[in-house]
Symmetry: C2
Subunit: 325 residues, 2 copies
């Protein structure tokens, strides 16, 4: 009877992204049995945004319960600095409305279930560890190359939250001390070279170069409207300047990862996010830079891998954290 | 009776430094009851060096046993990359004679006791955690500013050894990607700005600057003979260029620490080593750079502290590891 009871408990995992809020009902094997995706973008009042998030989660939970699933708790991944033990959102770059909110407590009141909150990329890392590309690794990092660069570090089979729960911000390691100004206040952050916005910013930095002028002309948009996807499409067609921008992302990532390899002797760096579509341009540069800069043994040890779980990484990671509660 | 029995067990901790091999007989409270220091420098044959180290440890152990102490085991901290689970010295910059040696097994054969080996700065970090400045912290790093820059990271009350045991090499994080060439093969390593050799190298890099010429003239030595202590002595007397070199060390440390604070959300950075004598010049620059570059909450959280244990850090850390076996 005991076995059946264990299998009969499910976790509700959710992932708040800049565009969508996704949730999934997850069993202990990591299968997603029910799921939903609703828009999260463009709600600018704090109360309305919170209501939207909390009601979406509550309605999802009720829907799953009505389908007969017993839910142990709710986990939700949130972009930004999370003070995990207090269930507090310190600062979310995409959702300033959530800054300084005791999110966990408020959501618990709404769903009447235990709630865990965590940084979204930390959640993803835990998902890859439990159910994805990082299975079997004890020491690794998940890096997301999206609008920004996020990270989640697992050391000795434990997710590194740090003293306040804000750990993992690999995107804000300094690569070029006098480099491009970052929104975080620093200059030369990894994020300014290896994210979608970073790729575009680097084009803007070089806008008087012949190659950059030609690239913008081919894309056929005003420079202010050019996206990293436009640049990637030209890179695929062989445009030298577009390729150079993605190679620059690889170099910056390689500099950061070499340091992490020396410091933490990781087994793998697992990469996801939209910019990683340019894998074949970025990763050879990344590897070359890492091998050049890091000690040979830990550099050879560290695998550079694609993520497994994609958009479901956050949901599955938060679900696993609920099961771990 | 049980209490007495526990107190009656002792650990033999040793620390192999570039100049001296020190050992101490340590009780569980971290008191050093017997100790000795013998020279370790200038022995260039591999067999002779190993014999010297192993015999010093064996003779020390016998001396302690003859004094009536029951010894649980021997721990020895070694500078360099240590593959801990194999008891293997991969690469020691100061003792190339120890490279690729199964040190632990060889020493066990000599002393007839269980042996643990560990990187010397990792050992120091564990010593500060058990008996020194890091007592009560769960997440911190010890950094030594000596001939090189070493590090030992503790996260969630565990020393980070990494997959192979080579973790902690904070001195070889890249600060200036196109900076000074390092012995490790990389360019712009922290060590090239914040170690004793780094301070001197930076003087040499600027040897045509008016301030540098004046500084070397005041020191009164050939540039090849100038040491970081010479430079420090002039910094204390107010020489602007000497002060600038130590401030540069502070800036480089601040850049590195800002990244670590964002990545690991540490509670403290505990600093030791000869170069840290210039604390009053280095640390204000370090703090300024860290506050400027890191996220505010984790930066405010992270204390920059002097170490407690000094030369005994390695001995006490290795002793604690023996007790933890």
């Amino acid at each position: 009877m005991k076995k059946k009871q264990v299998e009969d408990i499910y976790a509700f995992g959710a992932d708040l992204g800049g565009n969508n809020l996704r949730w999934g009902l997850v069993n202990q094997k990591g299968d997603i049995l029910m799921h939903e995706k609703v828009a999260s973008k463009g709600i600018k009042s704090k109360d309305k945004l919170l209501d939207h998030i909390f009601n979406t989660v509550r309605d999802g939970v009720i829907k799953c319960q009505n389908a007969g699933y017993k839910i142990k708790g709710v986990g939700i991944g949130i972009p930004g600095l999370i003070v995990k033990d207090k269930g507090y959102v310190l600062k979310s770059p995409n959702f300033a409305e959530l800054n300084s909110i005791y999110f966990q407590r408020l959501l618990e009141e709404r769903v009447k279930l235990p709630v865990i909150i965590e940084n979204d990329v930390n959640a993803w890392a835990w998902g890859e560890y439990a159910f994805g590309a990082a299975k079997g690794f004890w020491n690794f990092m998940v890096m997301t190359l999206g609008t920004g660069v996020g990270g989640g570090v697992v050391v000795d089979k434990k997710l590194i939250d740090g003293r306040d729960g804000t750990a993992g911000e690999v995107g804000h390691i300094t690569i070029y001390p006098d480099g491009i100004k970052c929104n975080c206040g620093n200059t030369g952050c990894l994020e300014k070279y290896a994210s979608a916005t970073g790729i575009v910013d680097n084009l803007k930095q070089h806008i008087n170069d012949e190659g950059a002028i030609e690239l913008v002309r081919i894309i056929g948009k005003d420079i202010g409207a050019v996206t990293s996807i436009d640049i990637y499409n030209q890179a695929k067609k062989g445009n030298a300047f577009a390729i150079k921008l993605f190679k620059g992302a690889g170099v910056a990532l390689g500099i950061a990862i070499a340091g992490l390899v020396n410091l933490l002797n990781l087994e793998a760096i697992i990469i996801g996010g939209g910019v990683s579509a340019a894998w074949d341009i970025i990763v050879p540069e990344l590897r070359k830079e890492m091998m050049k800069r890091a000690f040979s043994l830990p550099a050879r040890r560290c695998q550079i891998m694609k993520n497994d779980l994609g958009d479901n990484g956050g949901i599955l990671g938060m679900a696993k954290m609920v099961f771990d509660m």
